[in-house]
């Protein structure tokens, strides 16, 4: 009896939720509604210091250019998988085009890395 693998994965996902759900829904349903406010207990942990203000500030994201590069290479990686799986089945001239594309990508990659690694841009 061969089931569709996606259907089995769906069963597996539901099974995980059934097994793991009570672990966290029980504290949510039982513990939290019945408790009182306690400013000393609920204070964020800062190694004994009294916290000042909120934590949700705009923090300087120093490595932001790298995250931008990720957006590009994410897509490239997925295309490369599609090419790699069919590598032995397509003619070598098509593979050369992919390699050419990778080489072309090398120059902007180097430029972006050089910019992103400079301390002034952090």
């Amino acid at each position: 009896m061969a089931l569709n693998p996606w259907f089995v994965i769906m069963i597996w996902a539901v099974l995980i939720l059934i097994m793991m759900g009570p672990l966290l829904t029980i504290p949510y349903l039982i513990v939290f509604p019945s408790r009182k406010e306690n400013p000393f207990r609920d204070m964020p942990f800062e190694s004994g210091q009294v916290p000042q203000g909120y934590a949700r500030h705009r923090l300087a994201m120093q490595y932001y250019p790298f995250v931008l590069m990720f957006v590009v290479f994410d897509v490239v990686g997925m295309f490369l998988f599609a090419w790699g799986i069919s590598f032995t089945k397509i003619p070598i001239s098509s593979s050369l085009m992919v390699l050419l594309f990778l080489l072309l990508l090398g120059a902007p990659l180097g430029y972006a890395l050089r910019l992103a690694l400079r301390r002034e841009n952090w």
Binding site: P5, V8, F66, F87, L102
Partner: protein, 343 residues
């Protein structure tokens, strides 16, 4: 194919046929729930014991069995009954639900990871992409959890975790690409079957090194454990987690460790292939334990590296080595150097 029961008398054979079916056994017992819970709790004990022995301590000792092997059970019971502290002005819904999502994401990839020729829950055609897709949701969930807990240390840890996992995901994919080229398939069962004669660690050795380093960075293990650096950020992005929430996060992290070790085994170390005096799943688990040990041991030995060193290593060195290795793999496949081994 079993007929759908129409009368109450048919119900019992129907239930029995479901329980004894292969899919049910794989879902519940072997690569499924019971095995994963045992493996996850065993790994927590194993890591503590191993690190203790490296640092000339004894480690867990009293909680039953040889060497305190029931320590995870004791820890679990303790953590369930502890109070869950919700930090001031924290987002309650996200704070509770993200650990559940993390467990879900840590367990879901086991649906496609094979432990033997037939010991796999779902034999999916795009298994490798499925695993990568599920693991790449981790960083965003981590930063949401860090934001929800409204505390400064978790927020910094969450940001670090984000750009670390983002930096090491691309080299990891590209080093897995050479395995895909060698095997010609994204199905993990097919990938392991292609290693019957030669393990992919031999033709793709550089890939293995890059993949292993990236796995350590993805798992936030030393020397890459910046997101949870104890001396700087109390416990990183799970500083505010307590009680059942902490247990859920801990379980999710160890399930991810087990998942990544199994993935390394299946991609590079020949999966279940080995001398036939042991059954296939035993070989997979043995190799997985070797990989997990290699991932854990640096925690007892190495210092932590700096943030900019981490980023530089991931984006320049590893990415370029991985790309070069793709070209090497193409040469190997095209020239037929390893044709005797079916590559």
């Amino acid at each position: 194919m079993v007929n759908i029961p129409t009368t109450p008398a048919d119900l019992i054979p129907f239930i029995i046929s479901i329980i004894t079916s292969h899919t049910f056994i794989t879902l519940i017992i072997f690569p499924g729930m019971i095995h994963l819970m045992l493996a996850g709790s065993f790994l927590t004990w194993y890591e503590r014991k191993l690190l203790a022995r490296i640092q000339l301590r004894i480690g867990p000792l009293y909680a039953g069995g040889p060497g305190g092997i029931l320590q995870p059970v004791a820890d679990g019971v303790k953590l369930i009954f502890k109070e869950v502290i919700l930090p001031y002005k924290a987002d309650r819904t996200l704070f509770i639900s993200i650990p559940l999502v993390l467990i879900f994401l840590g367990t879901l990839p086991f649906a496609v990871i094979p432990f033997g020729q037939h010991w796999v829950i779902a034999n999916l055609d795009v298994g490798l992409v499925f695993v990568f897709a599920t693991t790449s949701i981790f960083p965003s969930m981590i930063i949401i959890f860090a934001w929800a807990s409204n505390s400064k240390y978790p927020f910094i840890g969450g940001l670090r975790s984000l750009f670390q996992q983002v930096a090491y995901e691309i080299p990891m994919w590209i080093s897995a690409l050479s395995v895909v080229i060698l095997a010609g398939s994204l199905n993990l069962v097919d990938i392991v079957n292609a290693q019957a004669k030669i393990w992919f660690i031999v033709p793709a050795f550089l890939s293995f090194i890059v993949f292993f380093i990236c796995v350590m960075a993805e798992l936030e293990r030393l020397p890459f454990d910046l997101p949870e650096a104890e001396p700087e950020l109390v416990a990183g992005w799970y500083t505010e987690a307590s009680g059942a929430i902490f247990m859920a996060l801990f379980l999710a992290l160890y399930l991810k460790l087990y998942m990544m070790s199994t993935l390394v085994t299946d991609l590079f170390l020949g999966g279940w292939w080995g001398p036939s005096f042991l059954p296939q799943p035993v070989w997979t688990i043995l190799k997985t334990m070797v990989v997990a040990t290699a991932i854990i041991i640096p925690r007892g030995i190495y210092p932590r590296i700096r943030v900019d060193m981490l980023i530089k290593l991931g984006w320049t060195r590893l990415l370029i080595i991985a790309l070069v290795n793709v070209f090497l793999t193409l040469l190997i496949v095209n020239t037929g150097v390893l044709a005797a081994w079916g590559l």
